[in-house]
Amino acid sequence: MFDLSNDSVETIVGPSVKIEGDFKSGGNVIVAGHISGKFSSGASLRVEERAKIIADIQAKDAVIAGEINGNINIEGHLEILATAKITGDIQTGSLAIQQGAIINGSCSMTHAKSGAKIEAPSKEQVTHEWLLGGGDEKVNFKNKETFVK
């Protein structure tokens, strides 16, 4: 479930634990429990499969396998795994989505260098038939993952 071999994990919110309010962390965070309110991490966030977050989220990078109701703002890379259920708008630097993930909301991406924005389809259940516009996107259907960079 958890991998603590990465030295920089600072906080673990385990299963059957609820955090309510404005939660801020300067380090990496793993969430397997419930969070409601606001959440921000100055480093990486991992949302485990059984986690439920009802909050706007801000982090440097994130891997999401659980349920999120709220807007997500990721500075770097966002990876959405097959078990994820997201209801809210996503803003991220780069994005990878596995087949089976459910996303209801709009997604906007800003390239760090050019500042150009790519608008992805909104309110859509993500499958390997995900449609992408032109530009810098790369689609890898063999691995059933969609990468946008």
């Binding site: 603590l4 673990i12 385990g14 059957s16 609820k18 309510e20």
Partner: protein, 267 residues
């Protein structure tokens, strides 16, 4: 100057030979000093204060984890270094500090490798090891009232830790990462005691609890508040010794005590 404080349980005859050997070894190493035995009539704090007034710079306690915890609470704010000679059955704290039991501890004492360690403060009390809530019906509130943490099941244990309690079994990586007693932080630890059913284990291949780190919530902090949830009667135990009741404010006192440690210490 050294001051040696013997716990009351060492008056048992089974320790007589070991204590004689320790005393002889301390003389060999030229670190002998005044000795006093604790009993139900004297107070550890008064004894240590008196020894410091008479010039003691190093206070060495002979006993187990409870003895050490009491001594640590007594030396806070005093200009002394605390040494330990672990004797008895319950010596986990000494193990973390890298101090071997019995006679071998004398060698560690003579080398005088010192570390400044954090302490936890709850009201007027201090704890070196951990605080355990005897009920999970507790609310943990951040110092600035920005968020609360609540266990959602009654099958959970809540600890506030400086060192890792024996009941908290993390992976090696997890143990190295948390519970560092000189990092200026304490940790809130919430342990999920739910055990997967046999049916889940066999048929649903529920292996969530095979990874021991997955049972825990761990959150480092400098200051927090603990409150009982609703009308629940919650007791908090400091270092397996003193019992207090919430609401309480808990804070870390960074590098508050000087301790003699061994090479085998875990931090």
């Amino acid at each position: 100057m050294y001051f040696y404080l013997y716990d009351a349980f060492l008056q048992d005859k089974k320790y007589t030979k070991l204590l004689s050997e320790i005393e002889a070894r301390l003389i060999d190493l030229s670190i002998q000093g005044r000795t006093t035995k604790l009993n139900i009539l004297n107070d550890i704090k008064e004894l240590i204060l008196d020894a410091v007034k008479h010039g003691a710079e190093t206070v060495v306690v002979l006993g187990d984890d409870k003895t050490i915890s009491k001594a640590i609470g007594a030396v806070v704010n005093l200009p002394v270094t605390l040494g330990i000679i672990p004797i008895g059955d319950n010596n986990l704290l000494a193990k973390y500090l890298g101090i071997p039991e019995g006679l071998a501890a004398c060698e560690v004492l003579s080398k005088r490798v010192k570390e400044q360690l954090d302490l936890g403060k709850v009201g007027n009390h201090h704890f070196a090891f951990y605080l355990k809530a005897l009920s999970p019906h507790i609310k943990i509130i951040s110092a600035n009232d920005q968020y609360t943490i609540t266990p959602m099941s009654s099958n959970m244990e809540v600890y506030i830790c400086n060192f890792r309690p024996a009941d908290v079994q993390l992976s090696t990586a997890g143990q190295k990462k948390f519970f560092v007693p000189h990092d200026g932080y304490l940790e809130v630890v919430i342990k999920n005691l739910r055990i997967p059913s046999l049916l889940n284990k066999i048929f649903l291949k529920d292996n969530r609890h095979q990874n021991q780190d997955g049972q825990y919530t761990i959150l480092p902090f400098k200051k927090i508040k603990l409150e009982a949830e609703g009308d629940h009667d919650v007791k908090l135990v400091l270092d397996d010794d003193r019992i207090i009741k919430p609401p309480v404010e808990i804070e870390v006192l960074p590098r508050k005590i000087n301790l003699i440690v061994g090479r085998e210490r875990t931090f």
